[in-house]
């Protein structure tokens, strides 16, 4: 179907109003790196599209102990911020330069695996999503946002407007393993953040990408770390159990067999980066 209307709202209220008016048949697009390839191939034929590039949702600011990332802030903007270094690293290893200039942080949540790398880092950081609808805004932990493969908690009359990331001094680390060094889909991505209490881990977050229907937490692995000193045995145990936390798939990039094994390897490597003998990456 030839697109008959393309809306470019200049504000959030205007965007919400267009969404109410057109309902679920309106395709909402931000950077275009997910939707445009489908449209260009004739795989998506929307009648009406709303582009959010000019809706004023692209600011990144640090307030109230949180980094507030507008949903349409680009990955280049995320790479340019220095409040949360692990997010820089996640942005740096996603897409190519021209793609990062277009792709948005909010859009990254909707990128089907093996994409969606930035969302993996956000998950490890306990980010929240802010969803705006006709009756106002609601906040939801990112961990609760995903409901299945390509499905999520966003209601038909809502827009994702912001990612809110608590500022923390917890050390965090990030690894993306792909078939190439850059501009590559992931075999697996791993983000981890640890809270220490003295010389023991009080709380842990391990998020995995490209090994499930959406970015997932490796909850058993997280549990296994709590109370340990993150010695080699604890790392090995957590890495081993992380393979049970994931539900890898086979695609052109890797088989499920290989992905599962790489989960163990790269969870291990991320945790080694955070182990006490290394300089903690504390922020």
């Amino acid at each position: 179907m030839t697109v008959s209307s393309y809306f470019l709202p200049r504000s959030l209220p205007e965007a919400l109003e267009i969404l109410q008016r057109h309902g679920p048949d309106l395709l909402v697009m931000a950077g275009g790196t997910v939707a445009m390839p489908l449209i260009n191939e004739g795989l998506s034929m929307p009648g009406a599209v709303m582009g959010l590039r000019r809706a004023g949702l692209d600011r990144i600011e640090r307030t109230d102990g949180a980094l507030r990332i507008g949903a349409t802030a680009t990955l280049t903007q995320l790479l340019d911020q220095d409040a949360i270094p692990v997010l820089r690293e996640a942005a740096r290893t996603t897409g190519s330069w021209a793609i990062r200039n277009m792709a948005t942080v909010g859009g990254n949540l909707f990128t089907p695996p093996p994409g969606g790398d930035v969302a993996v880092a956000l998950l490890a950081l306990d980010a929240s999503v802010i969803l705006a609808g006709p009756t106002g805004e609601r906040a939801l932990p990112l961990a609760d946002f995903f409901t299945g493969f390509l499905t999520n908690q966003l209601a038909p009359d809502e827009l994702l407007v912001e990612l809110r990331v608590p500022m923390t001094s917890d050390p965090a680390a990030w690894v993306k393993f792909g078939r190439k060094h850059a501009n590559t889909p992931a075999v697996v991505t791993v983000a981890a953040r640890l809270r220490w209490s003295g010389d023991k881990i009080a709380d842990a977050r391990i998020a995995l990408g490209a090994v499930g229907p959406h970015p997932i937490r490796a909850r058993q692995a997280e549990q296994r770390l709590v109370g340990t000193r993150l010695g080699p045995d604890a790392i090995a145990a957590a890495a081993a159990v992380a393979t049970e936390d994931c539900e890898p798939f086979t695609d052109a990039i890797a088989t499920d067999w290989y992905r599962r094994r790489m989960v163990a390897i790269f969870v291990g490597r991320v945790l080694e980066q955070l182990a006490p003998r290394a300089e903690p990456e504390g922020r």
């Binding site: 179907m1 309902g23 679920p24 048949d25 309106l26 395709l27 697009m29 997910v34 939707a35 445009m36 390839p37 489908l38 449209i39 191939e41 004739g42 795989l43 998506s44 034929m45 929307p46 909707f110 990128t111 089907p112 409901t147 299945g148 493969f149 390509l150 499905t151 966003l154 038909p156 229907p213 798939f249 086979t250 695609d251």
Partner: protein, 164 residues
């Protein structure tokens, strides 16, 4: 495309079977379902709107209960047609009693046509699995909340409902 799965619901078999035949329940539990109509004893027609990353669309569906042995077995045939192509298929489900709860085992095959067929089958299968999971989850919530009064199902010949 092959799809199969299993899930246990918190209601007896009779209630589950009745719910599966009830348009009002189907409207409430099928993700994105905007309208459903029971056009005969065995046929349902509906409209499902799906809002996926990069792809939005409305799909017309026709489903027939081709064979049924309440409350334990049913076989559905049908098609889903939209701007992105079509899915023709059939699925059978078996309801087994599990101490007053019900285990639903389903198994289906579908042929995908049109642009949808060009997508990686992982996407269609993953999405279908995800939607079925969501639908059964919704059904379970609804069964817990509103246990159906009778076990015989909705006998009204044709009802049409649209979402409020």
């Amino acid at each position: 495309m092959n799809l199969s799965g299993s899930r246990t619901l918190d209601a007896p078999r009779e209630a589950v079977f009745a719910a599966i035949c009830d348009p009002a329940t189907l409207l409430a539990v099928i993700p994105g379902c905007r309208a459903i109509e029971r056009t005969s004893e065995t046929e349902y027609r509906g409209e499902i709107a799906l809002r996926l990353p990069g792809i939005v669309g409305t799909y017309r569906t026709v489903v027939r209960m081709a064979d049924a042995d309440p409350p334990g077995y049913g076989r559905l045939e049908g098609e889903v047609v939209g701007s992105l192509g079509s899915i023709h298929g059939h699925a059978s489900f078996r309801l087994t009693d599990a101490d007053g709860r019900t285990t639903v085992d389903y198994d289906g095959q579908a042929v995908i046509g049109g642009p949808l067929a060009r997508l990686d089958s992982r996407f269609i299968e993953g999405l279908a699995g995800s939607l079925i999971g969501q639908g059964l989850g919704n059904l379970n919530t609804r069964l817990q909340r509103h246990p159906p009064a009778g076990a015989s199902g909705d006998q009204s010949p044709t009802i049409k409902e649209t979402p409020a």
